[in-house]
Amino acid sequence: MNAVETPLPPRPLLEGRNLRKTYRLSRSNTLQALRGVEVRIETGEMVAIMGPSGSGKSTLMHILGLLHAPDLDSGRGLSCHGPHPELTFAGRDMVALGESERTRIRAREMGFVFQDFNLVSTLTALENVMLACDYAGTGGAKARAAALEALSLVGLFERAGHRPAELSGGEQQRVAIARALVNRPSLVLADEPTGNLDSARSEEILALLRRLNIEHGQTFVLVTHDPEVGEACDRVIRMRDGQVR
């Protein structure tokens, strides 16, 4: 891809500037969840975003994961005036993208793991993973093979035919990780991936994420308030009151 011979400093996979997000809670009440955040995440990094509840760490993840768009300008009323927000992913501008384009990028280039495992309860483990293939435009035998491979990667090949209700919490989270990885995304975002697991299961999941990060060179961004998760990562972004500190 790059014709230049000399190795360049790693290009950031994700870069954001002036990210602000104001939520309108009611007619007269707004919440400034992000107050001008600057982040830079390099390709292949495993980064933790940490901070107390309400510090804006989940909001930041939603913006980085294109689930929400940053405020475009000063907004109305209370929010402060500021420069235009910037957000680039793999070198492309994400701020101006429409909803369908963002959905497409989420499906094909990103993977998501949520705290509550969030599997579709009527589908088997295999079908849950195949769902992500389907949304990324892969179908049939190819999707099945990819899904089985992803399930083997998280050690659940044998459990592929089970429904979520028949799996333990740790197993469900591993299915969710397999689903996040099946399309080989360049970025995996995880919101409290160990939040509902006991410490033994947490360590297992963390080790798995770390192994995948090293073996596949995928970039991981984990939102957590568990210090052990923070320690396991390359770097920690600490947040407080909607700002990076």
Binding site: H62, G65, L67, H68, E99, S100, T103, R104, R106, A107, R108, M110, G111, F112, F114, N118, L119, V120, S121, T122, L123, E127, L131, A132, Y135, A136, R179, A180
Partner: protein, 390 residues
């Protein structure tokens, strides 16, 4: 597969919704079959009048009357240009209270001299038992009964039947024709004239001679002459005469049948629409329950179109299942009712392939439409908010 599993999540609710659609489609199939049958009877009826013959009666107007007409008017009509054969006839209700008892076709006594149409009548009447009338029967009290009439009075060849107070010997019973002759007692002209006279008020009767009376004429045009032309000619000859051409009959019967069919199909449609509303409710509920699941799907990359498609397909499936069950039940009812009525010749329903396919297609489309609004709601959910939804 996933759609079927989603449907089985709340079996009772899905079942009740499908039941709602089922009842609607069942009603549509049964009433639609009845409407088909009515349309069919009307078209057979107009075939009966399709010999190109113009019916003529006394007293004018656009609806046939049973007024006395002098039989000699027939000779005047026969002399008109384009007229081939004129058959004088007498028809009267079989009893004074019989009119309106059966749907559409009141029982009648009809009298003509057998064979006086000179072979022009296109509807072939066949005797199921015994024989048809002949010209030689004139002067004797014999009758050939239509199939319905024979069944109602439980008469067979050789029995006697009282018509307007006179005893008639049954010499034949007609095969079913599915139209007017089924409900008629055919008698010789002279007998009909006598019976007719007995029904008239004495003041009217005083001026008439039985052998000279008729209630109408069947006028057959020469080949190539349009019945409407003849009808206009007849009315121009004598303003007291009323005419009905095959075209008039089809229009008249058709407009009644159309009205009745519209009512029947309307009832069916209302039932289906009510069923459709229950699909809206079911889908709205099931989407509220699945808010989190929709949030996950949106988050991991399902497009809005995709979510709409899933929901609409699911509700279309509910509609389709309800439609198929309704069709099967409706077809069962129609078949059983027709089998039960076959022996008595009362066939009320006709289920056509068109009606069947329309019913299922309609319920499927209705289901899809019913799912559309809940689907749009689902697609517009904010994935993050939906994920946090408890």
């Amino acid at each position: 597969m996933q759609m079927l599993r989603n449907l089985t999540r709340r079996r009772l609710r899905t079942g009740l919704t499908i039941l709602g659609i089922t009842i609607g489609i069942w009603a549509l199939v049964v009433f639609g079959s009845m409407a088909n049958r009515i349309t069919d009877m009307v078209s057979k009826g107009s075939a009966y009048y399709d010999s190109g013959a113009v019916s003529v009666w006394g007293g004018g107007g656009s609806m046939p009357k049973s007024n006395p007409v002098d039989i000699s008017i027939g000779d005047k009509l026969a002399a008109l240009e384009g007229v081939d054969v004129v058959v004088p006839g007498v028809s009267l209700n079989i009893s004074d209270d019989a009119a309106g008892m059966s749907m559409g076709l009141p029982p009648m006594i009809t009298g003509e001299v057998a064979g006086s149409d000179k072979g022009r009548m296109t509807m072939v009447l066949r005797a199921a038992m015994g024989r048809l009338l002949t010209a030689a029967d004139e002067g004797s009290n014999v009758t050939v009964l239509g199939s319905d009439l024979a069944r109602q009075h439980d008469k067979r060849t050789g029995d006697t039947i009282a018509l307007r107070g006179e005893e008639f010997r049954v010499v034949g019973i007609l095969e079913p024709t599915l139209t007017q002759p089924d409900n008629s007692a055919m008698v010789p002209l002279a007998a009909a004239q006598r019976l007719y006279m007995s029904t008239l008020p004495s003041l009217v009767k005083a001026n008439l001679t039985a052998s000279k009376v008729a209630t109408g004429f069947t006028v057959y045009p020469t080949p190539g002459t349009v019945p409407e032309t003849i009808a206009a000619e007849i009315r121009a000859t004598d303003a007291e005469l009323g005419t009905m051409t095959p075209g008039d009959f089809t229009r008249l019967a058709g407009s009644y049948a159309d009205m009745l069919n519209a009512v029947l199909v309307g009832i069916g449609l209302i039932s289906v629409v009510v069923g459709g509303l229950s699909v809206v409710n079911t889908m709205a509920m099931s989407i509220a329950e699945r808010t989190r699941e929709i949030g996950i799907k949106r988050a991991i990359g399902a497009s809005r179109v995709r979510i709409v498609r899933e929901v609409v397909a699911e509700s279309a499936l509910i509609g389709c299942i309800g439609g198929v069950i309704g069709l099967v039940l409706g077809a069962a009812i129609v078949t059983v009712a027709n089998e039960a009525g076959r022996s008595s010749g009362t066939i009320l329903f006709e289920l056509t392939a068109g009606t069947a396919m329309t019913a299922v297609a309609f319920s499927t489309v209705l289901g899809a439409i019913a799912g559309f609004v809940p689907a749009l709601h689902a697609a517009r959910l904010d994935p993050v908010a939906a994920l946090r939804y408890e």
